[in-house]
Amino acid sequence: MADFYEIVRQWPLLSGIQVVTALGLLVIMFIPEDRPEVIKKVAAVFSGLDLIICILLFLAYDKEIGGLQFVEKFLWVKTLGIHYFNAVDGINLPMLLLTGIVLFTGCLTMWQLENRVKEYFAFSFLLVLGVFGVFMSFDLFFLFVYYDIALFPMYPLIAIWGSTRKEYGAMKLTLYLLAGSALILPGIILLYIKSGLWTFDLIALSGAQFTPYIQSIGFLLFYFGFGVLAGVWPFHTWSPVGHVAAPTSVSMIHAGVLMKLGAYGVLRVGAFLCPEGWVQWADLMAVLAVVGIVYGAFVGLAQTDLKYVIGYSSVSHMGIVGLGLSTVTVSGLNGAVFQMFAHGIMTALLFSSVGYIYDKTHTKTTFELGGMSRNMPIISGFFILAAMAGVGVPALASFWAELLVFISAVKVFPIRGILAICGLLVSALFMLRVVMKTFYGPANPKFAGLPDVNFWLASPRIILAGVIVLFGLFPWLMLNLIQVSTQSFPKVMGF
């Protein structure tokens, strides 16, 4: 196997992902609209290929050496210093794997889509092209372009295939995210000019000696610019509304991957390029994160729409990522990156289960459902498993992330850390409340006889559930990888 990985390391796998995604998009475009079955199969095959490449990357990355690997770099526009620069390290590799898993399972989840299948999958692939791009680019110019590519398709995807105030949701989401990217662009230009290096190369820029003042402004711009997408309180309200309005697989990608884009941006661009600013604003970050954790959980307690509940739980869980980032410690970063991954998988499973239930019952209001465990035991089981992961039950992936974040948070900000831990109680209360109202109690006779998932429909959920359990039981598989890069991050405390 070692020899095989040695060979694999020579392949341009990162460009491979983008080529496969783009090819998938292209092929879908050329299939006539009246052949939805073919389109779905093509989408499944290409997303499956993406996933295979991501797994290969995950396995072949050499943790002994660490650093940037699978580097593909050449100068693209010489006068501006724009490079085509792709690479992976311990931070973006989990994100790429996450994107691969969510894309593939999302495509399988949408097997029953009937309305405008072709456009739907085309937009989805375009979206994911952007997401993959952001995660693999080490050039700020490409990163920003990919970032906007990832944001744009959300509007049509929600406004056309969505439900529940979809135009409002789509508009709100787009405005928020564009407002965010309106902060990112000046940030990038600021660093580009002030560095005096005339390059967008992230690694080169990190070597530039920015004054603390520049770093402070730069970090703030990136924190709020990317932070909007990560659902930082009080810029979070687009997220539940957007989740609710979006169709199932878009919710999966949106909550599962897109929100991580924000947190990743804060870490990769903000913290990496402006470490002084990061340390300076850590206090503020921690406050907003803790407010987000507790506040999201409390608001979630009042919701009766399943998707709203998941939306607010995302606000709460992304708060944990924010808290991890604010600690400026190795363990905090480990926890934050792991939480991004774990939360992505978990929300994807939640949305995917709700999507199926909504498909069959045409409602996602908790009190209209009730007793679903009797009518649809298997899909209910998946939801309950994911909800348990959300509550922070051990042996499921997100537990480890929360553990690391909380330990380092208590070390750095004792009071805020303890407050965040107390938020766990509220999140347990609201998750279990929803599980009880929806899945327990007497079965609603209206939904008796509705079919549960068969093996093929269950397959995407099986994959997601398997990933949650796998990394829950064997967390070191992921943490050892993440640690390779967080240890050498600028300014972090070695805790």
Binding site: K172, L175, Y176, P234, T237, Y295, F298, V299, L301, A302, T329, V330, S331, N334, G335, G371, S373, R374, M388, V393, P394, A395, F399, W400, L404, F406, I407, V410, K411, G417, I418, I421, C422, L424, L425, V426, A428, L429, L432, R433, M436, F439, Y440, G441, P442, A443, P475, W476, L479, N480, Q483, Q487, G494, F495
Partner: protein
């Protein structure tokens, strides 16, 4: 992960991992076939029990604790090991857990016969055994916490097993959230320990010689000890987090026997006794343990005196016995607490399982009705339940007598006030438990004998036909086994003490305490006899003449009402409502307002360029006038 696979390690892995393997097998493969699931579950539990027995015997004479561990998570300087820690205390507890798990699974063959969810039931039982076993043999507090949480999850699933009943799923949720409230303190406590000492090894915190060398300040030690104790308060249903346990009786009766008497709730006591030297280093923490134990013991005893539901009586008695254990530990009597934990595990499981037989047979939980329906004709369960009650009340020669006496001696050593509280509790315990027994043995009023009332029988609709004896004897044999253990366990006090502490004290307390304890228990029994057993007894407790007190007791001192109010007014009505309105009105309203403002600004600006001459002239005039004004003034 673990270095060097020896036979002992293999056995440890079998003991700890066989149940979870069975959980996986049942959930993934045999869910549809009940008999296959039952077989898998029982084989798994048997393997686990057998391996535990091997380890117990193998390490019985070991001089030092045996540790196997490997890294589970390493993050910078943070190291979280996974492994096994075998010392007398964990071996004893392992034996208790594995034995009770096994007998409960055997008993459930009969009890759950005919239930369509039996596969799920066995899977959850396996999940529970796995969590509990790994909790018990954890080498570090963090692993203990992790499996502690998993115990909480599996108990949530088992309590809410009859999920179509709202009451059952409510009870499951309540148990989970309430124990979690305590767990948060536990979690914060171990984080503090980890950050200040750098590790959470039980080998250190459980060793009197090492606790002093950890570099903890006295204040931090006390703080973290109390925080960790709050986890035990939640799990062991101590005041003020005790109201989940009576509700948890919504689960199937064998589950109540397994979780809510013998193992899960005992985990709290185990936690404190596990790191007992750590607690002993802080007199404040010990006092907190003692006080909480006393309050709980007295409160729950009063609650048990008015309950008519047999499972409720046992539930309250469980809480009060756990309170006793904490009193023992808090008073510094380590062995007494652990010994009572051991005896209690067996006799309380016995009591619940007897109750299960009656409930299964008569389809009611009310022991007055059971009595009327002819409970006393079922000889085996009646005799075993009487043995259990005698042990619970501390009547010699049953096991509970010895352990309770040891606790009384510890309390007397601490101070007379604690001894008096303990004696009062013992009297109440004897009263409420013999109340049940006398009512069941001596039915009053008309006795309706149902047609199907035959000894140890069950509804024919359940097991049916050729295999009926299996369902019947799976339950009865377990009662006999546990009854026998209850009879003899008390006589092994010396051996157990030597095993656990390395020495056995010649004599525990004075004769006086022995007489006092016995006298109080007998007083309770006699009172119960005159009110419920004697020929002309009306079967009404003395409490029924004090209506307000009875209402207070039967409403559980209104603790549930208080929690309900807290949830409704503070959590839902207060915080949640405020935050939700803030989201909608201030944040969303603000953003929507900003959007509207932008749009109307755009409209206003667009009007400037409307091309109408008079507007343009008007604007030009305005601007010129303003500029003129500005220059005039400056």
């Amino acid at each position: 992960m673990l270095d060097g696979l020896s036979f002992e390690l293999l056995m440890a892995i079998v003991a700890s991992m066989a149940p979870v393997l069975c959980f996986g097998l049942i959930m993934v493969f045999t869910r549809r076939s009940i008999s296959a699931s039952v077989t898998v579950g029982i084989i798994g539990s048997f393997l686990s029990w057998f391996a535990s027995l091997y380890l117990f015997l193998h390490y019985f004479h070991a001089e030092e604790a045996v540790v196997f561990k490997g890294a589970w998570v390493v993050s910078a300087s943070l190291k979280i090991p996974f492994g096994y820690y075998f010392d007398p205390h964990s071996l004893l507890m392992l034996m208790i857990v594995a034995t009770i798990s096994l007998v409960i699974q055997i008993y459930s063959i009969g009890y759950m016969a005919g239930d369509p969810g039996k596969s799920r039931y066995y899977a959850f039982l396996c999940l529970f055994s796995w969590s509990m076993i790994n909790l018990v043999i954890a080498p570090g507090l963090l692993q203990l916490y992790i499996f502690w949480e998993l115990v909480g999850v599996s108990s949530y699933l088992l309590i809410g097993f009859y999920f179509e009943k709202w009451s059952a799923s409510e009870a499951g949720k309540k148990a989970f959230v309430m124990t979690r409230a305590g767990d948060i303190g536990f979690f914060i406590g171990i984080i503090i320990l980890m950050l200040t000492t750098g590790h959470l090894s039980i080998a250190v915190f459980g060793n009197a010689a090492e606790v002093g060398n950890t570099g903890l300040s006295q204040a931090l030690l006390t703080l973290s000890a109390i925080l960790i104790f709050s986890g035990a308060v939640g799990k062991s249903a101590q005041f003020p987090l005790l109201t989940w346990l009576p509700d948890a009786m919504e689960g199937p009766t064998p589950v109540s026997a397994l979780l809510h008497s013998a193992t899960m709730v005992a985990a709290g006591v185990y936690l404190v006794s596990r790191i007992f030297p750590f607690y002993a280093a802080s007199s404040t923490a010990m006092m907190v343990v003692l006080i909480i134990g006393t309050i709980t013991m007295l409160l729950s005893s009063t609650m048990a005196m008015t309950a008519r539901d047999i499972k409720q009586v046992w539930a309250f008695s469980t809480i009060s016995q756990l309170g006793f254990m904490f009193m023992g530990l808090g008073a510094g009597a380590y062995f007494a607490g652990v010994f009572h934990l051991t005896t209690h595990a067996f006799f309380k499981a016995l009591l619940f399982l007897c109750a299960g037989v009656f409930i299964h047979h008569f389809e009611t939980n009310d022991f007055f009705e059971m009595s009327k329906a002819g409970a006393r004709k079922m000889l085996i369960p009646m005799i075993t339940v009487t043995i259990g009650v005698a042990a619970l009340s501390g009547i010699p020669p049953f096991s509970g007598f010895f352990s309770k006496e040891a606790i009384m001696a510890g309390l007397a050593h601490k101070g007379n006030i604690w001894l008096i509280a303990g004696l009062l509790g013992a009297a109440m315990t004897a009263y409420y438990s013999f109340r049940v027994i006398f009512v069941m043995w001596f039915p009053k009023g008309e006795v309706e004998e149902h047609g199907h009332g035959h000894e140890g029988g069950h509804d024919d609709g359940h097991g049916g036909g050729r295999w009926a004896w299996v369902t019947e004897w799976s339950m009865l044999s377990v009662l006999l086994i546990l009854g026998a253990i209850t009879l003899v366990l008390g006589f092994f006090q010396k051996e157990l003490e030597h095993f656990l502490t390395g020495h056995s004290a010649e004599h525990h307390g004075s004769q006086l305490i022995l007489v006092l304890a016995l006298g109080c228990a007998l007083a309770g029994v006699i009172l119960a006899w005159f009110e419920f057993g004697a020929k002309n007894a009306k079967q009404e407790g003395f409490l029924s003449r004090m209506k307000s007190v009875e209402a207070l007791f039967s409403n559980r001192w209104y603790m549930d009402h208080a929690y309900r109010k807290l949830l409704d007014y503070v959590v839902y009505g207060g915080i949640t409502n405020t935050f939700t309105r803030n989201d909608r009105v201030i944040i969303d309203g603000g953003i929507d307002g900003l959007c509207r403002f932008t749009v109307s600004l755009g409209r206003a600006v667009s009007r400037i360029q409307s091309g109408l001459l008079q507007y343009n002239l008007y604007l030009t005039f305005l601007v010129v006038a303003l500029m003129g004004l500005y220059f005039l003034l400056v």
